[in-house]
Subunit: 387 residues, 4 copies
């Protein structure tokens, strides 16, 4: 049997290569999908894969696609789930798609991933696998053999799989262009303050406040401080800028797909600052009815993507709604960064529904306002009268 594995170079997926070979009797093709991985890690991963005796190894640069087809949708949807800006959740369907594509090209029989039976990623991988390639088998060695972290480490040692040095720090890390997640160990206790050492992207290196202007075109950020940037470049830039002020930390208790509550820590400087800017621009150009309805749409979008339901038809329907609203979400937003803080201090748009004349207290009000007053709370009044 030939299996294509979503590979990361980390401990779990390295073990999977061996398990697939030994316990499942498979030839293994590893695919590492680059959605924002340092170059040296990609090289390292390939080396590691080859050492593990894979049939083939693919490194796929999906950064551009990740930003334009996933992150941009997420910005337009102000996408969060219970406060989490969806970094890992957002990348999984793309990774799964690439694995499927290779599997079809290579005539493989099975699709494989290294997720455990406790988390969310198993759902995100498998719902894509089942929807897009229902004819293929799914093999999830870690989950199926129900390996704990400790058991994984033993297995690795036994099979000469190199163990990352930072395994001493018992944190499980995942990162891509849209954010970095840190979980495990003492972080699991929701009462314990996360130690400073877990943070990599949001160390404060700048003290002096700075104003950064973001330009949006139809809901998509296209320029920073007047400089047009390519999609990937802009996200990287905002991660750097916001990160240097310590902006973008998220510390929540989150409802996993299985219904388990878990404490999670994230660093999402680019996501947090871009979504903040985007929301404030929407407040300027969308009607209040649009804003209020979009709240529900956005929240539902975030939930679907968190749950790995990228192929749920409702997701596409919500995107149609969102794209329709974004026609006018063009303009500029001024973000003021200071230590651990990112605030909007200005916004403008050629589509602003703002009218200085109407809003200003220096101008006359309409004589007609009395009519609004007459009817504003009519039913409340009738209701009080009815006793």
């Amino acid at each position: 049997m030939k299996a294509v594995l979503a590979y990361s170079g980390g401990l779990d997926t390295s073990i999977c290569v061996k398990l697939l070979q030994e316990k499942y009797d498979c030839d293994v093709i590893t695919v590492i999908v680059d959605v924002g991985i340092p170059k040296e890690e990609l090289v390292e991963a390939e080396k590691k894969a080859r050492k593990l005796g894979v049939l083939k190894h693919y490194t796929i640069d999906a950064k551009e696609e990740f930003v334009t087809e996933y992150i941009h949708k997420a910005i337009k949807a102000n996408a969060t789930y219970e406060g989490y800006p969806l970094s890992t959740a957002l990348a999984r369907p793309l990774t799964a798609m690439k694995v499927i594509t290779i599997a079809k090209k290579e005539g493989a029989d099975a699709l494989s991933h290294g997720a455990t039976g406790k988390g969310n990623d198993q759902f995100r991988f498998e719902s894509m696998f089942r929807s897009i390639a229902p004819e293929m088998e799914i093999i999830a060695p870690i989950r199926e053999l129900n390996l704990t972290r400790k058991e994984s480490i033993s297995y690795a040692k036994e099979h000469g799989i190199p163990i990352p040095v930072d395994l001493e720090k018992p944190f499980s890390i995942d990162e891509n262009l849209w954010g970095r997640s840190i979980e495990g160990g003492i972080l699991e206790d929701p009462w314990t303050e996360p130690p400073e050492e877990i943070f990599q992207w949001t160390k404060i290196t700048k003290q002096k406040p700075e104003t950064v202007m973001i330009e949006f075109e139809k809901g998509i950020p296209i320029a920073v401080n007047g400089r047009k940037m390519k999609p990937v470049e802009l996200v990287i830039e905002m991660n750097k800028v916001a990160g240097s002020y310590g902006v973008g930390r998220v510390d929540i208790v989150e409802d996993r797909i299985l219904g388990i509550k878990a404490r999670e820590n994230y660093e999402c400087p680019g996501a947090v600052s871009l979504i903040t800017a985007h929301k404030h621009l929407e407040q300027l150009v969308l009607t209040r009815r649009q804003l209020r309805f979009k709240e529900i749409v956005d929240s539902t979008w975030g939930e679907l993507v968190y749950k790995g339901l990228w192929t749920e038809p409702l997701r596409k329907d919500l995107d149609s709604f969102i794209d329709s609203t974004q026609e006018r979400v063009s303009g500029e937003v001024k973000l003021k960064f200071s230590q651990k803080n990112c605030s909007v201090v200005g916004r403008q748009s050629r589509y602003a529904l703002y009218s200085k004349e109407m809003a200003s207290f220096d101008e006359k009000a309409s004589d007609l306002v009395e009519g609004m007053l007459r009817f504003h709370s009519l039913q409340s009044e009738l209701s009080k009268k009815a006793g």
Copy 2:
């Protein structure tokens, strides 16, 4: 005719006294409702009212009632409207109620307020007046005579009404225990950064980070750092603590009741920090279905109160829902304050739905998870199959 006026001691309501006397031929009773007004201002206001020749003047301490009957409901509802924690909006119904009570006691014929025809407060006052005392006349001199700020100042000068020194700064201020709003002048332009000088409550006076523990009982904050506090005292304390870190500034473009978009600035240090803490505690003890539904309830509650629809029966229905959810919202939250930042770094509760064993990656997963996977995205799969 005898009119009872909601009095603040400020320019607009002082003019109203004169207008009621001269243009509406009324005997005027002024009522200043203390929902968090510095004592010297109360004294000053009374003096001013008497100088204007009012029939009677009442100073009513409503701080306790404001906190227990309004602010506590707002905390339980995580109440905001487009990002604004409802400070003024929340106090208006209470002020209106007190005015009505005095009017009934004094056998008055009319209820009066000093709001203009552009803003929200006219709606908030009048919907209470109409619902609770439909038999009384409503007189709104500033709105009815459609006075601009400039005209008000002229009128005041002509009639010897003392003009506050800070009128040079053309900002319109309103404050109560739950927050402070600043609007007008250059702030009306949504693109202009608000100058530091407009802020009073959120000047940074502390640099060293500090962790503050808030204890909640059924959704209501009852202790700070282990010290039980009376309702009013606790809110004042949190305004002070959060304010000293510069936390609680809100800068938004907001949809006024009339549909006009306006740029607004607020300082709500206590509100922002207490609601943040409250939300995180809810994430620990409520089911995800409760959390998700409560989002819609909270958002609707905030909209009703913003619009002055305190007497709308739906408000009471939503409170019933909310109170039911808050039965278990008891526990502690650790807030970490640093410059301009307030983050939750820990939360615990005897009602936590958190289970270490279930969440931890050090423990075995359930063998049964495969069943969940089988059905999780079933309809997405069928949908893809259907073409």
Copy 3:
């Protein structure tokens, strides 16, 4: 001044012609927009208009546009408002658009309608007028002069305006392709049963039950009993078929835009039967997440259109959502008609998410179902455990 009036040939708009001429000093151009008006009435209306001395008269056939651009959207949205399938509400924006078009062509200064100050139509006309032609004046004689029905009749008699014979029956009727509304007189009392005589479209003329098959393509009905029909023809056919069984009566207490509750009676045989069929087809092809979210979308769509907010950007956004869902709403529905009853007794589609194998109790269940059970109510269980 030159005014273009939305004319119906009825009492109110005939009076408006005279009022526009005499009280507003206007040259009047009348426009009757045919959204399903019997031919003889169109002829009659034109004659009447000319007799009243109008400058010009236009008869515009908008039936096709009404069905394809309005009714089809309404079917896709399963559009109702508190049970009312929106007949009049749906046609007003189209009528208003046609009036505006003529006004621009004729270089008119004002737009006019004959709606009173109590109902909904003033909002529907004027929100279109204000949005699309803000430069033109709006004249609403009946509302502005605040004429009651009695006063209107007197005025008509004084000015030799012919009064319809059925004025003795004090019912106010409005009809178009999508339905017929009857209000006024004894019908205003919500406790009184409507007399049979008010119904025209839903007199029972058939006794024998009959099965009618409707074919939909992307949410739009395109054939009846296998016979492809043009849009207008199909709606007329379904009005006839359903009407002959007495199907389509709606008797509700409805919240008018002003907040007034009013008892309303409608006959909408085509609308009721087509929307019923459409909903059942959706249940076969949409996922439950789509169905549930679309409930909220549909309800919001119905409310916007009822309130005359056709130009509200949210309406267009909702249409984008809806159109995305309708991609698969193709298939056939069997409607069984009997006396006063229309039931769906069969539905099929090439996009059905139905799987006989999965649904049937004659087939084995999945062994994996236990996994679903394990997690289905997990949080309820934890919640009970927490006490």
Copy 4:
């Protein structure tokens, strides 16, 4: 091991007795919970259970509790799920509770039910079992042994379990006071019209139209045609009346909990007519904001109960909301029954928000309506202007 089985006297649960004894080595206590079962069936079931050698048998009359604690809540929530008024779904938690109560009293080790692995009832039983008695084992023989209907029949024959005569008709029936469900066989095909023979409760026996007046007190029906009735009696009466006109048939494609779409047929004459009446009364006494929000609450309530999540805390929260709204849902509704049709033709209440003076076209409108018009579509207008 001692197991308590939710027993019905039907084929599946009779087989379960034997399976529990033979395959699971249990002493079996059978409990039949009467939520509306003909007396002779109760007697028959007991006889059958004893013949199967049970340790003990309980017959529990839960009709009163079913109506007051479940059906009344359902009426107040206008409870349906995709058109289905929840009959079986509504009774399952009560049945499960009674089984648990007996199990605790008898010191049993296990709880058991006869539901298959395809349907909804396994979820409804087990979520109650897990939430209320997590210490007990759950045994679901039919599901665990994955028996098809055919296999069940063979097993019954082998073990001398009497097979009901109507097994030839391959329909699976469930009935209680709130409705009757029929599924299986040719009914599984969503395109096939259900044969008349499957219906028992909705055979047309009356031809002459009849008006029936229902009186509600706080959302609960308390009298029919002026005659006060006990809760159970009233439901039985309405089943009879509505059933005799053929009212209450529901034919839908429904999304089962597992995500499987299934065609289902129901007869719910009492439920359909009482919920119809209740909704119309709500339209008279609730504000439109209440009505609109309650739509979402009701829909969510129906979904929770359908899914067997009776112990989900959100259900209780929704009930608090609903009870608050029902304070004023008191009054009378006239239902007009004719062949297959039940329509509301009148409604009245001392809490009606209806005002004849405001609604009537014979009365003057308010001069103030122009003010409403000015602001009604303000944002749509600004939006058009913005281009």
